[in-house]
Symmetry: C2
Subunit: 667 residues, 2 copies
């Protein structure tokens, strides 16, 4: 272990003490907000995606993903169709199914999934290789274009699915497929002579190999993950070398991936990367693996690199919705504080990856700054990514939408004003499914004799403190009211610290332990953002929490050019927006006076029940311009306008129209 | 002539009465603002461009344009290099030279130009064809890709140059080359069986053929121009047909020109086009020709089509600087009121084309709404297009520049924070040169017994009213002070109306006729934006004009989303901007209070002397954010800031930095 120790370590939490992820059979969700989304994943999303993967959704572009596996397995004839990473749609689906099965048995679903496992196993080549694109279409070109062709990325998703499915069902076949594939990759890649010293264009296998290491206990998977992370950014550039070697051919001519090294975070060794650059999903998948490796190996320098990138993302490159990636071209980060609202990319998958990263950091170092961001991304961008009916999805999550601009200006060609069905490049829907299906993993961590509550998602958890089982029942009216209660059950009295996150948005936090009068939570009871109760707990002990939910006028750092003079509303975990359907056209003509009172009004009918916010606002009036575009004798004319904000996640569920998160503040 | 007559016609101005363009030997410029720019064109731009065309500018990418002609002429060996429209760089240069020679003889320059004429003549093929790309590189593919390959566009520039050079020098060779080429084109194109019923992707030949008609009096050139305009937009699409015919090959795969018909304004017959769409330069070149043809043929419906497009451009799709084209992709118009400042394209050539269009409309219908826009484009975007030393140029003219965004966000990849030398695609520098060298053409028109003064550019003009010569000496301190005087000389007393444009920006206008007290110009002395003095003029008569120049806080139409809550300053013809060098970084943190006094301060040293505007402003302060990106307890903190605005045209002459035209107005 590195001699250099950070503050956290000096406080006694060793990197190698990090908490292990909880299994989903131990954390059951029963929550007024989330249960319905998880039900949608089970009842709508996963079955719909299965149909889509089998090309049985008439209105969607055929996926061909299952058919590709059938062809590779010798069960069908024909050509490969789809993206080079089409396989990952199947394995991400299988991973989501695994979490559903881990939570609750479903023999019919398991039967379908077993058949997919058999198909994947059959598509595996004698040497262990699995990839239908290269098996069917370019068998001679394996590993010749790591920069662009996602072979190791697909391998990573296969491994993640395998670990999850094995854990959920005990299925050994899929774990064997994954191990054989990983062992083969281990023979192909490395610094030893005769091996390829490359690494994937799209990070994913790194975090997957850590999961495989956890599942099997085999060190060489951890070492291989570490190799991929440490080799990244080595000079001379592997991508440029392989490009020369294969005769300078490219798969994605519009992107120049072989030479645009920052796009794939291959411009520098990971420990020297101080800014989040390039493709946003790749950055956060990479950081997730870096955090994993830092924890597993005690590599303090790697942990510091994670923190640098974390800080850069959340302090300079993240939308208020938890979206990341400001630019469509390259689906990428751009520059510090460059957060345009209308041309935003903010891919759903990138926010999911940010949650993975936050989750790993929380396992190492429970600090609410990670959990606050996790919550922000989850309650805003991720849940916005799926319609209330579970059938349509956002890939791109802008903070401002103007339909007339979408029609005419190609700088916004990537933005959809409405959620879409299964896409040609369908990465987001299965990613949402696997995240929501495994949401229980993100609620708690246990570290030594402390239970950390990161998310206030209702349900029942079975946790282990010093070999003793503790049942924690969480009842949550958190999303709209900030109220949560816990009931503890334990076979015998047990001492532990219950550490309860105090959200960054809360006004006053108070608690009641075992009944009585609410007590305001004092500063000395909060450490690293968690209020702690240290006691010997007995069965039947209760803790009731109330976080007051003032409506906040959020402002951006003054270096965020696009939001100068503007505010966004937030109440509880939810960022709000204005929609045309409630507020009329030309939302940019609206202003919210600084002194306007903001009222939270629960609308039980609206999209299943939403807290709305109303306020007296002003609307600029367009009268009297008589065909002039510029005038020098024009006053701003305004009229009173009642503004109605709804949570951002709920936008675009009532037809097409304008939307904006940031609104001008008038004085 | 069409039976349907518009208001203007009913007032007695027949379309066919339109004023003829003035020749440059009749309008000599001597102006404190413009003379220096024209001198730069003569002494710096044209010689520099000659060097560039001959690949003798070490720091510039080789143009190869003259070398291409030498190869086509059989004087050199080698391959074609450059864009498919590389030839036009040579002919636009020759056109600019023609205007310089027409203004003032220069035997050395004429000798160089004569050699170019000889070279072009030698490159002409036996059938009359001139185009070095197709002659050298794809001789078998003439006229197979009109949508993309600019053959007729290059022909148009050759014809324009030929007419100008013949007029300036009497050179017959170049006119013969142009006529032989045009005659050949006339044999190739048309609706008759066996002819190609196509038209150019980039309009230009249409307006050039009208000039050739004027120069030669040959009707078939006018008819050919009319054919090209009238055939445009015919169904089925010629571009799609030729694409099929040539085996679906394309030259510019990133644009899909064969199918994106609005890009080339080929989506509808021109008379049905109600919005300016697609490539902005093409639109205004097309409109220029449409106005020419309406005037020449008396086609009232065509004139109405011009007016519709004019109104759409200036009332809904033009930047306050006279820039047009909101989007880099396709160098194109986008949607009504979509005028982003930072991603603006606003190509210099498009504003030049807008001036051409305005000029033609003024010849038909002298109305100051055309001249006001002509002035706006000229004094802002066009003159901004060239550095104060005449050596560097802007192709793209944004209204807001943030260097950190330019570095990181590819939505602004087309924007340069500094003017550039000769470009790979070098259309703008020679276009600026030919406009400034012929500026005299734009100052006056004569219509029946009226002299219209559209621009207040000092100099001496010799005009003809009813076969009598009238000399008009204009002395102008217009740009900074709004003061102009005229002295009339004439061999005998002559009655005419002197019609003086009252600029849209002027506060009070007053005049003095033959000395005495200034009289405010009354409303009944102004018609269609021109104050008129109807009298019998005698030699020595004088008119002195004073237009007061209040500093205007300009506002955009409330439908311009990007400028909501913002103002721009204008004084006289100049739009102003803030630059980082005067105002520090983060210009978007500055606000101009509504009540701030605005002071015009002449700085005699700054870039050769500029009126600046100063005001008390506010700067948002960034202190106290401690690494947070969003805060809910943050007040806007401001400090006093002295704002200093300079004319937009003068930006980026003092190093790189931020710039903005629109600034938030605080109350």
């Amino acid at each position: 272990m590195n001699n250099q120790m950070n503050e956290q370590l000096q406080e006694g939490i060793m990197l190698t003490d990090r908490s292990k992820p909880l299994t989903l059979d131990k954390v059951r969700i029963s929550d007024p907000f989330w249960s319905d989304y998880i039900r949608l994943v089970r009842e709508v999303v996963v079955p719909y995606q299965w149909e889509a993967l089998n090309d049985r959704v008439p209105e969607a572009e055929p996926s061909h993903a299952i058919q590709n596996f059938k062809i590779a397995a010798g069960e069908a004839e024909g050509a490969f169709h789809g993206m080079v990473f089409q396989d990952s749609d199947v394995t991400k689906w299988l991973e989501a199914v695994s979490y559903l099965l881990e939570t609750e048995p479903d023999p019919a679903l398991q039967q379908v999934a077993d058949s997919v496992v058999e198909l994947i196993a059959k598509a595996q080549q004698p040497d262990g290789y699995v990839n239908t694109y290269f098996t069917v279409k370019e068998p001679e070109n394996r590993w010749t274009n790591l920069a662009e062709c996602h072979e190791l990325y697909c391998a990573g998703h296969l491994i993640e699915a395998a670990v999850a499915y094995n854990k959920a069902t005990g299925n050994e076949t899929i774990l064997q497929v994954a191990c054989r594939f990983a062992d083969y990759i281990d023979r192909v890649f490395g610094r030893e002579p005769g091996k390829l010293n490359g690494y994937d264009g799209h990070q994913e296998i790194e975090l997957a190999l850590v999961k495989l290491y956890h599942a099997t206990g085999k060190d060489h998977y951890l070492a291989l993950s570490r190799y991929f992370i440490e080799q990244r950014g080595a000079k001379p550039s592997f991508y440029e070398q392989e490009w020369e070697k294969r005769g300078r051919t490219v798969h994605f001519p519009q992107l120049d991936i072989a030479h645009d090294l920052p796009y794939s975070q291959a411009h520098l060794p990971v420990q020297e990367q101080e800014q989040a650059v390039g493709h946003a999903v790749r950055v956060v998948y990479m950081c997730t693996a870096m955090a994993d490796l830092a924890a597993e190996t005690g590599d303090e320098a790697l942990l510091q690199a994670c923190k640098k990138l974390w800080d850069n993302i959340v302090a300079k490159r993240m939308y208020i919705t938890g979206g990341i990636g400001s630019m469509a071209e390259g689906e990428a980060f751009t520059a510090d504080y460059d957060l345009p609202n209308d041309t935003a990319y903010a891919e759903t998958c990138a926010s999911i990856g940010l949650i993975f990263f936050a989750h790993r950091m929380l396992q190492i170092e429970p600090d609410s700054r990670y959990a606050d961001v996790m919550e922000r991304a989850l309650y805003n961008t991720v849940v916005s990514g799926m319609a209330r009916d579970g059938k349509t999805f956002f890939y791109v999550n802008p903070l401002e939408v103007n339909p007339s601009q979408l029609a005419g200006n190609k700088n916004t060609h990537h933005v959809c004003g409405q959620r879409q069905g299964w896409f040609g490049c369908a990465c987001c829907p299965p990613n949402i499914a696997r995240l929501l299906a495994s949401l229980g993993q993100y609620v708690y961590t246990v570290q030594k004799s402390a239970i950390y509550v990161h998310l206030y998602v209702g349900g029942a958890a079975t946790l282990e403190i010093a070999d003793t089982e503790v049942q924690l029942e969480q009842k949550s009216a958190y999303t709209w009211d900030g109220e949560v209660s816990f009931t503890i059950s334990t076979a015998r009295p047990i001492a532990f610290a219950l550490k309860l996150r105090v959200p960054d948005w809360c006004g006053e936090a108070s608690w009641v332990v075992n009944g009585g009068e609410p007590q305001q939570i004092k500063g000395n009871e909060i450490a690293n953002g968690y209020a702690q109760i240290n006691r010997v707990w007995q069965s039947g002990d209760t803790v009731e929490l109330v976080f007051t939910m003032p409506i906040h006028r959020m402002k951006s750092h003054p270096l965020v050019r696009e939001n100068a003079g503007k505010v966004a509303l937030q109440r509880g975990p939810f960022v709000y927006c204005l929609e045309e359907t409630d507020n009329g056209e030309q939302l940019y003509q609206l202003a919210l006076p600084a002194e306007s009172e903001l009222s939270a009004v629960f609308d039980p009918v609206l999209l299943g029940g939403l807290q709305t916010i109303t306020a007296n606002g002003q609307r600029q009036v367009s009268d009297g311009w008589q065909g002039q575009l510029y005038r020098h004798n024009a006053d701003w004319q305004t009229e009173a306008a009642e503004l109605r904000f709804i949570p951002y996640f709920a936008w675009a569920n009532r037809g097409a129209g304008e939307m904006t998160v940031w609104v001008r503040e008038s004085t």
